[in-house]
Amino acid sequence: MLNTISLTTLSFIIGFFIAIPFGLARCRTGTLMSKITYGYVYIVRGTPLLVQIFLLYYGAGQFHKELRQVGLWWFFREAYYCGLLALTLNTVAYQAEIVRGAVEAIPKSLEEAGASVSLSRFQIYRFIHIPIATARMLPALGNEFVLLLKASALVSVIAVTDVMGQARYLFSETLDLSVFYIAAINYLIIVLIAEAILRKLEKRNIWLATY
């Protein structure tokens, strides 16, 4: 259980900070950065998470000699870290798109309004762009968090003991189907709690509905 929560939250937060520059890069269409990030997003969103996990874990295992030389083997050896990396890379792709959507949706007229009350460029960003973009991203990010929660169950295929992994292990020992139902209830509870928190946060931003 702890693993599930830690995997999800860690990959979400790390992914978020990486996604911000990615998403902003996507906003300037036509530049090289935006093309590269587009390619990244396209590939990550076009392949199943399962394949990404396998690629990272078993693929890294294939190169363990080279990784030992570079001193990174300790990371790629652990299923937990590989799973974390896979989830993070995955969520970066989706969050980058969320960031881009939120930033692009701010109408230019607001920038002009800010200029007309003589705010500096930096102040415009701080008081207009960031609050509006953040508020707009919230529902989509919340949704992404829930998706990440569900995706974390996949790391059980490389033998990480999260909720799903535990259930599979117990099942192989006991052949008792109820372990899966208990796992199901666990996930339901976590997701419902996460969504309730999200709704509370969204309530503070009801002004957004008028836009």
């Binding site: 199943p48 394949v51 396998f54 690629l55 569900k150 995706a151 996949l154 799903m164 199901a184 339901l188």
Partner: protein, 238 residues
């Protein structure tokens, strides 16, 4: 480098034909699931709009459950539970005979459940996007509820549903990979087999990823064409 490419050859030496077979199963699974998934999406959306409280609650509970559970958990539960039910059935009524449940069928069922939980929301959104006015206009020329829905509302819903269903299709394609966990011989499973003998996981998983990207690309193109066709007459010139 070239030895790697040779691994993809067809015939006895290479894994190309196995991977192709697996790809066929993957695509077959997705295509087989889609009609049921679409139908269930409408069914669940209809139950959520029903005047009967019980139906509404059932529809909402269904959506909440299958939207919140990891797909792989749903898949595993369906597979093992159905097998258990069939086993107890055969042991009481048909002793001595054991029927297995095909992972393909289990995959279809589980994927349909997951798809329609999200799909029902797509249908609902599209229905309200078309608007009450259209229904009223249809009534005013004395169309029955059913005829109004099929001739007036549904054709207009497609425009709203296509992009969202296109997304869900892509998710469906990717989720077929999960069925490899319950031993369906689709492309992921064949890839794993290839890796088990050739010990080239990086290469084969990269090939696998490329296959999926190509599938996504093709799906995206098809979706664009479909959207163009549906929007053809509805774009206002005013």
């Amino acid at each position: 480098m070239f030895e790697l490419i040779a691994l993809l050859a067809f015939g006895d030496k290479g894994w190309g034909d196995e991977l192709l077979k697996g790809l066929g199963v993957t695509i077959a699974l997705a295509f087989a699931t889609i009609p049921f998934a679409l139908f269930c999406s409408f069914l669940v959306a209809w139950s959520k709009q029903s005047p009967y409280k019980l139906l509404r609650m059932a529809g909402n509970a269904y959506t909440t459950v299958f939207r919140s559970l990891p797909e792989i958990l749903t898949l595993i539960i369906i597979y093992y539970q159905l097998q258990a039910i069939i086993n107890s059935f055969t042991s009481t009524f048909l002793p001595g005979i054991s029927i297995g449940i095909s992972p393909f069928i289990a995959g279809m069922i589980a994927l349909t459940l997951v798809f329609s939980a999200l799909g029902s929301e797509v249908v609902r959104a599209a229905y309200s996007a078309v608007g009450k006015g259209q229904m009223e206009a249809a009534y005013s020329v004395s169309l029955s509820r059913r005829k109004a829905f099929f001739y007036v509302i549904l054709p207009q819903m497609w425009q709203h549903m296509l992009p969202a269903f296109g997304n869900l299709w892509l998710i469906l394609l990717k989720d077929t990979s999960l069925v490899s966990i319950i031993a369906l011989s689709e492309i992921v499973r064949y890839t794993n087999m290839a890796i088990a003998t050739t010990k080239e996981p990086f290469f084969f998983y990269s090939v696998l990823a490329t296959v999926y990207v190509v599938l996504s690309f093709i799906s995206g193109r098809v979706q664009t064409v479909m959207e163009k066709r549906v929007n053809k007459n509805l774009v206002s010139e005013h």
